[in-house]
Amino acid sequence: MMPWLRGRRPLIAASAALLTLAAIFVPLPARAGTPQTRTINVDARQFAFEPATLDVQHGDTVTLHLESLDALHGLSIDGYDVNIQAEPGKSANVTFVADKAGTFKFRCSVTCGALHPFMIGKLTVEPDLPLARAIAVTLIAALGAIAFFWKE
């Protein structure tokens, strides 16, 4: 016997769970236009990437050209198999297909001084469906909780 699962509560919990599943799994169009090929120049220095936010479209073929302004730096993207290193006079290129939508942090992968662990940028592969789904799930959870706990 669970006293806190009385009245309309099982119904609220079940609907919120169903809506959450729907928000996570409902198929959505992954992109609008045709994939492009693009080259992005990224400068690395202690302790920043410039630009630190990169936007590409899902399916694009992306070439990153990494140039370092001071010492040896790396660039590795969470969730993508990308990891390159550059130092002044030795720039690096990597080409990959942005086949996963969402936001991915990229980080310096070579220890470069005190703030190295926080040398972070972010790559957004549009449309950012994971973010949209996460917002939807958050709102569903919040509304569900409001309905669930409104009156005890």
Binding site: D43, Q46, E67, S68, L69, D70, A71, L72, E87, P88, G89, K90, S91, V110, T111, C112, G113, A114
Partner: protein
């Protein structure tokens, strides 16, 4: 009471014996070796560079250097002793051992670009012979540019400039027909061109054909191996300022004054090796003079203490390729 003594014993162990054993282990690692261990710490020059930057050892000593970095990736080379450590990762220790088999002063340097001041990151190993602790300074022949009285600070515009970059590839085809009889060390390409152009036997060849032949001659005289070595040295030591494509646009050179310290109207920043008007007017000797002496305030470091003559000739041969299209693959 016995319980208390046991508990106290364990605490004493962790307060005294445990820390002591850590340091003892490190001391044992050092003293168990049959070499003299020297700790060498790499910092970017703004934070002190090499510490220590002078390493004194005795002739005949076996020396083990424990090199570590406190900040970024550094490299370590003592060219005269043939020691090269390509990568010193922060917090790791790289060890190299050598026997101080001859007395003298052996400069060492960082070989990875570690900051804008990277080139200042140098030091010296002094191998002292106890029998002769104060040897007379060795005397060297003056460098070639001094022997030949070349003014390496003067402007050196080319007397003739080709309409496009000369190609050693095209020149190779002409090599049977055009004999370039020139000393590629002491003569500038532009002087060689003037000599060929004045040669009546070559009248039927166009200007560019002569330039192509000259380009090929420089490449042939250097040899592909030397150019390949030069490419590596250039990438390691020069490209950060002069740029990977030789245009003088490398990230470490952006704030350097360049020749403006000599001539206010000159272009700021490192020399542009793709500029035919400048490069073709310079002989290899003149370029070597600039490399070995350094730029006296321009931002160009001196390389005499780290490079052999052959290193410099190799780098120059490679640099020529920014104007003389060698048609060599960029791959190592």
């Amino acid at each position: 009471m016995r319980r208390e003594i046991f508990a106290l014993g364990v605490v004493v162990l962790s307060f005294v014996v445990f820390p002591a054993s850590l340091f003892a282990y490190q001391a044992w690692r050092t003293n168990a070796l049959d070499a003299r261990v020297i700790e060498l710490t790499a910092n970017v020059p703004a934070n002190g560079g090499w510490q220590p930057d002078t390493i004194r050892v005795h002739l005949g000593e076996r020396v083990r250097l424990r090199i570590s970095s406190t900040d970024v990736v550094h490299g370590f080379a003592v060219p005269a002793l043939g020691i090269q450590v390509d990568e010193i990762l922060p917090g790791h220790v790289e060890e190299v051992e050598f026997v101080a088999s001859r007395a003298g002063r052996f400069p060492f340097a960082c070989t990875r670009w570690c900051s804008v001041d990277h080139w200042r990151m140098r030091g010296v190993i002094e191998v002292i012979d106890p029998q002769n602790p104060n040897p007379a300074s060795p005397t060297f022949a003056p460098p070639l540019y001094q022997q030949l009285n070349v003014n390496i600070d003067a402007a050196h515009p080319a007397r003739n400039v080709p309409s496009e970059h000369p190609s050693a590839v095209r020149g190779a085809v002409l090599a049977e027909q055009i004999t370039v009889d020139a000393d590629t060390r002491t003569q500038s390409p532009s002087d060689v061109f003037a000599k060929l152009r004045a040669d009546a036997a070559l009248k039927s060849y166009g200007d560019l054909q002569l330039w192509d032949a000259i380009a090929f001659e420089w490449k042939r005289a250097a040899g592909d191996d030397a150019i390949a070595r030069g490419r590596q040295l250039y990438a390691r030591d020069c490209a950060a300022c002069h740029g990977e494509s030789g245009k003088g646009d490398g990230p470490a050179g952006r704030n350097l004054p360049g020749r403006t310290v000599i001539d206010a109207s000159a272009r700021r920043g490192p020399a542009d090796f793709t500029n035919a008007a400048q490069m073709l007017g310079a002989s290899d000797v003149l370029l070597q003079g600039k490399i070995l002496r350094g730029g006296m305030g321009t931002g160009m470091p001196e390389w005499r203490s780290l490079y052999t003559d052959q290193d410099m000739w190799d780098v120059i041969s490679f640099i020529r390729g920014f104007v003389f299209e060698y048609g060599m693959s960029d791959k190592k």
